[in-house]
Subunit: 487 residues, 4 copies
Amino acid sequence: MSLLIRGGTVVNADQSFRADVLCEGDKIVAVGPDLQAPAGARVVEAGGAYVMPGGIDPHTHMQLPFMGTTASEDFFTGTAAGMAGGNTLIIDFVIPGPNDAPLDAFKQWSSWAEKSAGDYSFHVAVTNWNETISEQMGVLTREHGVNSFKHFMAYKGALLVEDDVLLQSFTRCLELGAVPSVHAENGEVVYLMQKSLLAAGITGPEGHPLSRPSSIEAEAAGRAITIAGMAGSPVYIVHVSARETVEAIARARAGGQRVYGEILAQHLLVDESVYYDKDWKKAAAHVMSPPFRSKDHQEALWAALASGTCQTTATDHCCFMIEQKLMGKDNFTGIPNGTAGIEDRMAVLWSEGVRKGRLTPNEFVAVTSANCAKIFNIYPQRGVIQPGADAALVVWDPEASRTISAKTHHQKVDYNVYEGLTVTGIPAVTVSGGKVVYEKGELKVEKGAGKYIKRPTFPSVVTAQTLRNTLTAPKGVKREPVAAVTP
Amino acid sequence: MSLLIRGGTVVNADQSFRADVLCEGDKIVAVGPDLQAPAGARVVEAGGAYVMPGGIDPHTHMQLPFMGTTASEDFFTGTAAGMAGGNTLIIDFVIPGPNDAPLDAFKQWSSWAEKSAGDYSFHVAVTNWNETISEQMGVLTREHGVNSFKHFMAYKGALLVEDDVLLQSFTRCLELGAVPSVHAENGEVVYLMQKSLLAAGITGPEGHPLSRPSSIEAEAAGRAITIAGMAGSPVYIVHVSARETVEAIARARAGGQRVYGEILAQHLLVDESVYYDKDWKKAAAHVMSPPFRSKDHQEALWAALASGTCQTTATDHCCFMIEQKLMGKDNFTGIPNGTAGIEDRMAVLWSEGVRKGRLTPNEFVAVTSANCAKIFNIYPQRGVIQPGADAALVVWDPEASRTISAKTHHQKVDYNVYEGLTVTGIPAVTVSGGKVVYEKGELKVEKGAGKYIKRPTFPSVVTAQTLRNTLTAPKGVKREPVAAVTP
Amino acid sequence: MSLLIRGGTVVNADQSFRADVLCEGDKIVAVGPDLQAPAGARVVEAGGAYVMPGGIDPHTHMQLPFMGTTASEDFFTGTAAGMAGGNTLIIDFVIPGPNDAPLDAFKQWSSWAEKSAGDYSFHVAVTNWNETISEQMGVLTREHGVNSFKHFMAYKGALLVEDDVLLQSFTRCLELGAVPSVHAENGEVVYLMQKSLLAAGITGPEGHPLSRPSSIEAEAAGRAITIAGMAGSPVYIVHVSARETVEAIARARAGGQRVYGEILAQHLLVDESVYYDKDWKKAAAHVMSPPFRSKDHQEALWAALASGTCQTTATDHCCFMIEQKLMGKDNFTGIPNGTAGIEDRMAVLWSEGVRKGRLTPNEFVAVTSANCAKIFNIYPQRGVIQPGADAALVVWDPEASRTISAKTHHQKVDYNVYEGLTVTGIPAVTVSGGKVVYEKGELKVEKGAGKYIKRPTFPSVVTAQTLRNTLTAPKGVKREPVAAVTP
Amino acid sequence: MSLLIRGGTVVNADQSFRADVLCEGDKIVAVGPDLQAPAGARVVEAGGAYVMPGGIDPHTHMQLPFMGTTASEDFFTGTAAGMAGGNTLIIDFVIPGPNDAPLDAFKQWSSWAEKSAGDYSFHVAVTNWNETISEQMGVLTREHGVNSFKHFMAYKGALLVEDDVLLQSFTRCLELGAVPSVHAENGEVVYLMQKSLLAAGITGPEGHPLSRPSSIEAEAAGRAITIAGMAGSPVYIVHVSARETVEAIARARAGGQRVYGEILAQHLLVDESVYYDKDWKKAAAHVMSPPFRSKDHQEALWAALASGTCQTTATDHCCFMIEQKLMGKDNFTGIPNGTAGIEDRMAVLWSEGVRKGRLTPNEFVAVTSANCAKIFNIYPQRGVIQPGADAALVVWDPEASRTISAKTHHQKVDYNVYEGLTVTGIPAVTVSGGKVVYEKGELKVEKGAGKYIKRPTFPSVVTAQTLRNTLTAPKGVKREPVAAVTP
């Protein structure tokens, strides 16, 4: 089956050029001017629009069992909504309980994901430390295409791991050629702050941001970075939401460390005032961790993307219906954490980023797909339009508009944090697996059409780091044996 | 008994002026020109030298039971050596084991200290958290003149406390009007680094600094500062040895936090090359935590004192004989941590600080006594020469010299980290309790002459902080009750 | 004539204590409990209020000829208003034109100041560079008690001096033992921005802040600091208004430089929104340089005072009546720059600073008088309540309130930037020259009663710096003569 | 004429892959596996080596008339030496005198460059400001392919321009879609420091670094960045040599500014100790501006490249023979400023960068060609191996070694700052204009074979910036007219 995208401007992270794009099966086979459509090919007229690599969302949680309930969006609906937003790959998280074997969890998540409409891959969380975990990390990298492991510094009593686990796991990651990542919030402090706020009678959603200020995110990020420095490993900080965290990353990079940061589209636009809404449901709908911040953090986040201090954008897509949020109606610590966003990330970034001069179109591609593909080592299979790459792309209409609303979105959740926002610059057509899966506002998805994408170990940055560690390894001093008794 | 210091220049933290100083009993009763010596008074001719408040060393460990042995310097010899160096007060540390009651430990240390030649006071360490500890902190502040509590973030398996203890204890300190302090090093990381270095065959003293790089000090300091920010309390960082730690403190202060830093005189002069000495004993003699750093940290430490980012200087005086150090001859983690310094701190600071233009004479007084007295709330009883203050002072000869050596020092330890250094600017006479205790190079001390100095709670900074916390306390939103079922 | 202040609490920068204060003539002669009033002494009952050193405002411009008009407040009215606000000393600026001899200008200003009700001193501006200026700087320091010279980096075509003047003048200051100061704004950039804004049709007062953003203040401050670093001299930055400037100062101090910063009380409270007021007169009344900033700068300024990064507070008191402001009604660059504030500085700092926990009472004294007296070398003559100091003090009622208004203030100007603000903590009695000059809301001032205060050179910090420069002076390499022709 | 590079691994900035590369004429026409050599094609066997875009050196000065002499390397010898080092493009500088017309200078330089063996392009310096210059900047961009203008903040009395020129020229650049660059050193301060050092008897080459410390580079960079911020334009800082300058750039980027930095390979390896060499000639040979720095700056520079804070590497290749250097034998200010480096830049970066794990091979391509091509808007014509790009590439042997020496280098200068350094990773073959110009250690160059490369205006970053400026343009307030007389 052939597909020709005709008359568009290809926008890659490094360049833009007029070209047609021809796909055969699930691969791009030609990119160039005036390509001929093979017999029987489907032709999509781009009409001058941009043809870009499909978005990669490196941070989603489909149907996650969490806080006593399960995320409302499953792998089918979630990947479908993602494709409506121009995304053609998610990297979700396999999250074993502290006493679970990682491989078992991997199998569990894999079975859930079989119904995916779009392609997916998996980070695996390290929520404890022992020989089994260490060994199975090896199996996962060698046999299952996993090249990244996540660590929660928050969620005490559930997923939180201590510094000793971080150092041991980061060291193991380096050995395996995998990239460690962290959810950076000081979980011990959060836990005590929650208790203290509840004791002070603050039970509503505003207790959520009060218990997790930006300082405790930056602290944890700085700690993870220090530990990565000790391990000699890179580290990737998920959902950087605060100016201070950006500064911590920048300091580390200025010191020569390989540190990466991911920013959620939501944090670029939504601010903490939502938690003080008189309507409990609206306030609760925004409960996610890290929480929304004061407005003055937002320009720092945009600048982090433009300057390269942070490299990727994501959504932490983790949906809970209002009814689920009500689990915490008397106690904010019971509100399931998570918001939706996969359908809107790219449009929001284009509309507020590219159209406002904060990002160039090429930088847009870098932060929505290419950088992620490079860090997680699936570039140029993903993240670029070129022959040989996967036929996973989006035809982007920079002038078309859409007003975001929970009433019209495809996400399986009854709230949208961008409700009412009109974005200009939206997907016209999404292609996944060489097929048009979204067009003219309509999804044409198929359950199970999504494929699991394996990611090889040892991205070039890890290789460089390993080389450097070898050269700078600590050396001991040769000395004569020391007599026990001094003269 | 009267004592008249005649013909000197009084140097306080805020001003210098020609004046005689008259002491009656253990108090200064007059400061001014041309004072008459009362009948029978002892007269000390200052001969134009400086008359300054006796040094306060806020960080000593006399006869500390530690790492399987006991510090060689006891409260008698240690306070005596201190007075030879111009100090008239130490603040030592009561360190209960994790399962000990703080009050019991306080009594134990108090009994050890009865033989002190010079005055002393006590910080108390919090090495665990429970109701007893919390309550006894109250007793210690109300009944025993303790207004500061120390927390070890290092020494895993022994003294280390986790972040939850820090937050709870800092909060309790604030409530009591006490100042929390921390030994800032990430003990989890140190522990694993030690294991890793030993496994790599690095067993000598050079393993010590390799296992405790400056990054893990700055990380822990930043973490403690963040936690203090959550508690709304001040925090005092002991033995700041690294540029990055100074920067962490400066950032916090720029954000309005009340953070204090203490610098050991040793770290201003000695650098990490000592650990690579071919002579194991010499290298081991320098094993202390935090370890000596590369030279480029030193100007940052001096600047921290001149700029006020750090306020105090100390020694962490904790002596172990070479024979004791040999406990770790096959494994650096067994070398008892600690170096001497109480006798040399002031001379080293004057010689390298004042004489080289890094500090003014007034700043010298600030960092050797006045600031410490203010932070720990015994100013103006200590830290200033004025009527009503304790008769605890030093007559300082800015032109006299001494070559430091273990052979001639009064400290009970067979090594001196400044061995061979000639300092210009040394004590001519030290007065403690209104009596000359050191003169012309000779100690005239008496066992048990030292008194315990009580320190009241609520220094003005803590009061200000409390006021501010009240004004900025988090507030909840009033909302209608939320029905469980959505329409 | 004797004056006894009875029953107060003396608050100095370093300590607070209950004490009576006895003044004879224009000196404080005794400070202590239960002092006896000499025969015929005037007794002021402090009633438990605070007795503090009179405020020093190191930055005023009385009757300044500027921008084609003359400041409405003269030395008599201005010093009187200052005393109503608790101040007992101003340091005004002698500002010669670029072609004027400094000594002539000094005489001119001195003659204007003869009518002062309160004490005064003078900084002298260096607005050009030549032999005469350099020599007269020497005369001013040796014969006229001037120990500080100011440099304008703004006001192109009028007072602005270039970098070469700064370096030469700073070097000369160091030699003389004087402190150089700068008004830090990039005047070249301001000039072009003004033209550009006018060309864009922006002629109203909002053009003022748009032409002088915080970045060009921080740039100039950084430049002056760099130049001071080259000269090896300290430098004092007047009216620091921006977070970035504070950061520039902090960086320099962290590098060991002796840099000082002054903050105007106005910048702590008033923000840039005033320039967008629909009422031209109100907007224009706030035109001063540097302009008011966005609110997020204010906490950085408060923190700079609490942390010691900035040391002094001032007002840049320079009054113009609305009628004078109207000179710029069609062109914001014609609005005379300046606002009033001398009467309100201390009350505003107490009410918003001490009462809100941002400053302790002792820090209040430090930033309103003591630090200034130290930097400009008149401590302990000023800035402290102690025997021998000048009888220049304020009895401060921390609980009394006043609502600030142009209708009731003593300042000779028809606008007040704090209009309507109620402050708690105000002067009850001000004493200058040993006499009560303000009491129960009423001034009791006398034309010409104010005295000129000479300031000696070589404050201790300058001496230290000189010593350090000597030790670190650059050294050349001895080499054989080089033949002109290579083999 | 066809050329096939067979059996290599193409290394681009974003990816590496095994591929043959086919060139026809001066273009790459195919990149892929198993390409067939056309009839008559020259075949180069890469033998597994890397095939990379030819290096671009964005900073050279061939045959520059400077400081009373002329650089010894002309456009023929210089571009030839560059090709021996793997470079296929230089961007040299047209430098009109302050009273010269830019177009005349452009023609002068163009005529000199006609003999170039390799391709070249031109930045044009703005050394004064008037209508003619402003207009001719337009002509240069529209008609001559110039898209960048350089500004010297140093060289007082010769090339130095003041801040008002910077602001006007940056504004003009933005309008034209060109990128302004600066040589950042405070020339006023340098001038006075030179006088002062000479007066102190320091006449040797060590006076050079003493007169230009890193602080005055960082100051000027910060100033240029501030001015660019006011203009709303990007800015490119040439030859960043100091940690503080990197920090200034990083701060600006964190604030959302588009600032770029270039690092000379020499500064990454050579340190200031060379100026203290006893051999005057050796010391003088290293005289260039900015001078070499202390070793501790070097890791900051490497990290700046890895983190993306700085984007390009260059050489400031500007050769003077020892005999020319002797012009300053009695006075360091007379030593012509400049060192060679074009032949060694890439090898040094590979050997010390890639082989030591500081850079990945892809990052090497980014900093030696791709980033430069993007910033100066000739990407993908240059900076990437892909069909359609210029046939300007290097076959890089990562395992071959060379010991650098003035005796063997092709540069026309009798000194080499890397003398004796053995580098591993050197060019095997260089291709320019589709022809092999260097092979097996031998140049096969032709006078005049080099072509002038035009660079179009409005790189995407400038376009984004323009959009942003439009959106954030300052707005005035509408007010009623103000009556001149107040009621």
